[in-house]
């Protein structure tokens, strides 16, 4: 084409970024990589190809990690960990700072290599991924520096296994490695099978930061390699980002192992456009939401909800914008949408869209290159019942439906198993700030989308996983209390005496569900005897149906979260007051149940109620210092319905220690009291009944922990489950929790001093809340 031809056509021409340096780096390694263990590459073996999805050409051979490789990497990390943890925060900060600087110094090499391996546009790897990676290491250099003074009572977990996906290979590495190292852990990282190269480059470059041997190890391979890492007994934490299906398997595989776990999984994030939005900007936002990284983004705004009155206009504008998207060579600096990561993924997207029989499919009128590309696609007119409205496509496909009112928008938005992100477009600040807290998501963007920063927590709820990455809240997932714990032995009720001593009027302890005393569904009761063989009473043996009823009651009481914190504080104080009024009676009951004087436990329980009455209006969120003109508000929101198996050893204090933080933060709960001394709890519901606590906020189901744990942990409408039972149920609970990926907090048979400071405060409040980050850019 001559200049004159172009003068008439005014086409964009090719604008290729050079791949020479990246190819030279691959060539320097003869295109064949082993693992990175103990700060050097191992000899390659059993290698497989990693390809450039844009061309289908092989980029390099990488090694399929086997059991022995994982063993070697974990052993290296284990050897390195104590010394790494012993370094001062400042020393670790210096290493992280060096890593940040190195990412910047080699930024173009990282960007080009990422684009070659993944197929994402060079604009994104260059302008988004790599700068965010550098920012993450800078930010965590700061966290490392401040950690000893800010969190003196916490210590690192040990060896962290990180399993990361192919959609943001280097960025996800940063999200895992930076906090792990900052906190004093060492890492074994398993990059995705499709995209291992930038992790290997990063590992090699970490040598230039002087990172000690074994602190960072990279083992390449497929899912089997990841599974070996997950299963390794010497790994103390698994941090996983990827599909919900694999996340669920990891939850099951790690159940009962004592490994800490954070999961950042899939999503079907709503993108809500109200009639008063800047429609053109909302259209442009969708380009960043669903056509960013070919839609292969866990938090992609993939579910468009647009107010009915403006829907036609909005769809027209959207289609016009779609037609202007340019697909092509990811290394071209003038394209918007690159290649799908692999033909397997392309086939999966194609099959899902082709299976959709309802709605109207619009494909962008833009040239689609041959090969691993999928056109930007909009499917309108779908109903909530449509499969594509519910299931994650993980491709450049947007589905759309309409709503009439803000209330309906929220209902539709929350009508999903996921809860990762949400986007709201409106020029009305009242509407935006009303809707944002109502959306079931870990991140909400107002009049923007896909904003990320190291200072702001990112992560989901529901089947989008648990745990946050970024901010102090993200760092806490790599730390644990500095405590020496003892083994918790299973407690047993006093045996039934041969000749029980019976006196007084028969008293019937019931279950407490929805604010009412309820007989157990099964119609069975269990006698409780004092250590001296006196019959103290009976308690109802709750079963799975009682759990069902209790959870329903707890769900029906969710309005509790909307009450003011002041109101919740008042009620907690009032519970304490009413307990105090009956202190002598409770102390006597505890003496009978446990054989030990009960005064101290009652006093401690009253004190604990005061503690959480105090906290109710003081566990503040934060405004994060993110690099935009705007605010990122980290709100501490209630988890929802929390189930708790209460400790056996402190029947009243233990129950109060779990109930009080839960309800202080606006949760409702289903409590299964001490199995050894349940009557302390059944007496306690009378205190609750007289304390203005709304019905259903606290529900108490007595019975066998072993029997009730399963229906409670498996219940799909329970959002979190805690267990401090002396019955060894941690494995069962974590496994059953995989069903809806609820958060769990279990004791792994470690004892806790319920009277001590360790059993109240921020740890409990953190467990009772989810951090929701609401981004609100502003400016007129």
């Amino acid at each position: 084409m001559t200049v004159r031809d172009i003068f008439h056509s005014m086409d964009y021409g090719p604008a290729p970024e050079s791949n020479a340096e990246a190819l030279a780096w691959l060539a320097a390694h003869e295109g064949n990589f082993g693992h990175w263990i103990d700060a050097s590459f191992t000899a390659p073996h059993d290698s497989f190809e990693t390809k450039n999805p844009a061309t289908g050409h092989k980029l390099a051979q990488v090694t399929q990690g086997n059991q022995a490789d994982v063993e070697a990497a974990v052993a290296a990390a284990r050897r390195a960990q104590p010394k790494w943890a012993k370094l001062s925060g400042h020393s670790r900060a210096k290493f992280l700072y060096a890593l940040a600087r190195l990412v910047q110094k080699h930024s173009r090499l990282f960007a080009v290599l990422e684009t070659l391996d993944n197929g994402k546009p060079i604009r994104e790897s260059r302008d988004i991924d790599v700068p965010l990676v550098a920012r993450h290491f800078y930010y965590h250099a700061g966290l490392a520096q401040l950690l000893p003074s800010e969190q003196p009572d916490l210590e690192p977990l040990g060896v962290c296994g990180a399993v990361i996906p192919w959609n943001f290979p280097l960025l996800m590495l940063a999200w895992k490695v930076a906090p792990a190292l900052a906190a004093g852990n060492t890492v074994v990282l398993k990059p995705a099978e499709y995209t291992p190269l930038t992790a290997l480059l990063f590992a090699e470059i970490s040598r230039e930061a002087g990172l000690p041997k074994g602190v960072l190890n990279v083992v390449t391979g497929d899912g089997a390699t990841g599974a070996a890492l997950v299963a390794h007994p010497e790994v103390n934490k698994i941090a996983f980002t990827g599909s919900t299906a694999v996340g669920r398997k990891i939850r099951e595989a790690t159940a009962g192992s004592g490994k800490a776990l954070t999961l950042e999984l899939g999503g079907k994030s709503p993108y809500i456009v109200f009639e008063d939005a800047d429609l053109d900007s909302a259209v442009e936002g969708l380009v960043d939401a669903i056509w960013f990284n070919q839609g292969q983004v866990c938090c992609a705004g993939s579910r468009l909800l647009v107010q009915e009155g403006v829907a036609d206009r909005f769809h027209t504008k959207l289609k016009h914008r779609m037609d202007g998207l340019r697909l092509g060579d990811p290394l071209d600096k003038c394209i918007d949408v690159g290649a799908i990561v692999d033909p397997v993924q392309l086939a999966a997207i194609t099959a899902m869209v082709d299976s959709c029989k309802d709605g109207e499919v619009y494909r962008a009128a833009t040239p689609v290159p041959a090969g691993c590309y999928y056109p930007p696609t909009l499917i309108t007119g779908l109903s909530t019942a449509s499969k594509l409205m519910q299931e994650e496509i993980f491709g450049p496909v947007l589905v759309s439906t309409t709503f009439r009112t803000p209330g309906e928008a929220v209902d539709l938005a929350n009508n999903t198993r996921y809860g990762l992100a949400a986007t709201v477009w409106t020029e009305n600040i009242n509407l935006a700030l009303d809707v944002a807290p109502k959306l079931k998501a870990g991140v909400v963007w107002v009049n923007a989308t896909n904003l990320f920063d190291a200072a702001a927590g990112f992560g989901g709820i529901r089947e989008s996983g648990f745990g946050r990455e970024g901010g102090w809240e993200g760092l806490l997932a790599y730390l644990k209390p500095r405590l020496k714990t003892k083994t918790l032995l299973q407690a047993h009720p006093a045996p039934e005496p041969v000749n029980p001593e019976v006196e007084g009027l028969d008293r019937t302890a019931k279950l407490f569900i929805g604010g009412k005393q309820a007989r157990p569904d099964g119609g069975y009761s269990q006698a409780v005897y004092s250590a001296k063989g006196r019959l103290l009473g009976h308690y109802g043996l709750g079963n799975r149906k009682d759990i069902r009823n209790a959870v329903e009651a707890a769900q029906a009481a969710r309005g509790w979260a909307k009450t003011t914190a002041h109101n919740r504080a008042q009620i907690l104080f009032y519970i304490a007051e009413n307990l105090s009024a009956r202190a002598a009676e409770f102390a006597a009951r505890l003496l009978e149940l446990t054989g030990k004087p009960g005064e101290a436990e009652v006093e401690a329980a009253i004190g604990r109620l005061f503690t959480y009455a105090a906290w109710a209006d003081k566990f503040d969120g934060a405004v994060k210092s993110v690099p935009i003109r705007g605010v990122a508000i980290a709100m501490n929101e209630a988890c929802g319905v929390i189930g708790a198996l209460c400790p056996d050893e402190a029947p009243l204090l233990g129950l109060v220690s779990l109930m009080a933080p839960a309800i202080a933060m606006g949760n409702t709960c289903v409590l299964v009291p001490s199995q050894v001394a349940p009557l302390a709890a059944t007496d306690f519901y009378q205190v609750l009944e007289t304390s203005d606590l709304p019905a259903g906020v606290v529900n108490i189901v007595t019975g066998s922990h072993a029997e009730l744990a399963k229906p409670l942990a498996g219940h799909l409408d329970v959002d979190a489950l805690w267990s401090f039972s002396s019955t060894p149920l941690s494995a069962l609970i974590e496994k059953e929790a995989a069903g809806n990926l609820k958060r769990t907090w279990v004791n792994h048979a470690r004892a806790r001093d319920w009277f001590g400071a360790e059993s109240e405060g921020r740890t409990f409040l953190g467990a009772a809340t989810e951090v929701k980050t609401v981004w609100v850019p502003y400016g007129e």
């Binding site: 084409m1 001559t2 200049v3 004159r4 031809d5 172009i6 003068f7 008439h8 056509s9 005014m10 086409d11 964009y12 021409g13 090719p14 604008a15 604009r123 260059r126 302008d127 008063d276 939005a277 800047d278 429609l279 053109d280 900007s281 909302a282 442009e284 936002g285 027209t316 202007g324 600096k333 003038c334 918007d336 477009w425 020029e427 009049n447 923007a448 935009i628 003109r629 705007g630 850019p777 502003y778 400016g779 007129e780």
Partner: protein
């Protein structure tokens, strides 16, 4: 689609004759009231465009030549003289040295117009005779627009009589700042009527309107009142053309076309001095509105020093050597 062929060999089609003129429409205050502009979002789009779009090599050369064809080569200084204007007119006829244009295959390329104050119109018209290059006159008490209404209208008339084929009027910013939309509409409509056959560009002075929302409202009202072009600035405000302002105005142009079928032109002015900036504006025109808005009948740059930088870039393209300003004739 625009099927007009652009001729460049001394048969340069006058840029105002391709699309039907904007006849205007009744003032629709509901539409004006419903305008929403989210500033942060507009800024994000504007800021990322440069990372999304770029043209290289012969494409860049062609785009820069196209940019030249859209320049309103401008002199608006108190010390303008006939000699100064004649030199500018000569530069408009031959914006790039003949040898460079020959190598580019674009002999006959001219700028879009020459833009001067009323007193210089006659001189400019005479100097451009036979070239087909229109003379644009800034008018209506440019730049503040605060002289008497009668005089402002008379000025339009005088410039048209003197041979100006394009009139760049300035709106009364106070009408925007006090939300007096009817007054703005009436003023614009009357100025449009005064222009007769001459095309009218409405200068919004966006740097003085305070918010992008005001920019959008003023854009819509000027189009409703029949503006052929909407233009950002006089070049004399503290802030002149910017990409966020441009994006806001282009979206209004798109909405106006969707509603009326009429294409309205766009002219950013002030502060666009580098070839690289021009390419960014062109990319925004192409992406937001399409190829017709890259042609001089719907797109102009109000610029004085931009041409010099483009000349240097073109020479670099042809020779591979970075160029110097003294190698190109002064405008």
């Amino acid at each position: 689609m625009n099927t007009r062929t652009v001729s460049v060999n001394n048969t340069f089609t006058p840029p105002e004759h391709t699309w039907p003129r904007n006849p205007g429409m009744p003032l629709d205050l509901d539409w004006v009231a419903s305008v929403q502009v989210n500033t942060s979002a507009v800024e994000r789009r504007a800021a990322t465009l440069g990372g999304r779009r770029t043209v290289k090599k012969e494409f860049q050369a062609a785009w820069l030549c196209k940019a030249i064809s859209c320049i309103d080569l401008t002199t608006l200084a108190g010390d303008d003289t006939p000699g100064r204007v004649r030199r500018l007119a000569a530069k408009a006829r031959q914006p790039v040295s003949e040898s460079l244009l020959e190598q580019l295959g674009l002999q006959g390329l001219t700028t879009g117009a020459v833009c001067v104050y009323h007193e210089m119109v006659e001189t400019a018209v005479r100097a451009l005779e036979g070239s087909g290059i229109p003379v644009a006159a800034v008018s209506t008490g440019f730049p503040a627009g605060l002289s008497s209404y009668r005089l402002r209208l008379a000025e339009i008339n005088d410039s048209v009589k003197a041979g100006a084929r394009e009139i760049d009027i300035v709106i009364s910013r106070r009408h925007v700042l006090t939300q007096n939309w009817q007054a703005l509409y009436d003023e614009m409509a009357q100025m449009r009527a005064e222009c007769g056959q001459a095309h009218v560009k409405a200068i919004l002075a966006t740097g003085e309107l305070g918010t992008l929302r005001n920019v959008a409202r003023a854009s819509l009202i000027c189009m409703m009142a029949g503006a052929d072009f909407i233009k950002t600035s006089t070049g004399k405000e503290g802030v002149n053309a910017t990409l966020p302002v441009t994006l806001t105005m282009l979206r209004c142009i798109r909405d106006y076309e969707a509603r009326t079928g009429i294409k309205v032109g766009y002219k950013p002015a002030g502060g666009i001095a580098k070839a690289k900036d021009a390419l960014l504006y062109q990319a925004m025109m192409k992406d937001e509105l399409g190829v017709p808005w890259l042609q001089p009948d719907l797109f102009r740059f109000g610029a004085s020093s931009l041409l010099g930088d483009i000349e240097r870039q073109l020479e670099h393209h042809l020779t591979g050597r970075y160029s110097a300003a003294n190698r190109h004739p002064l405008g």
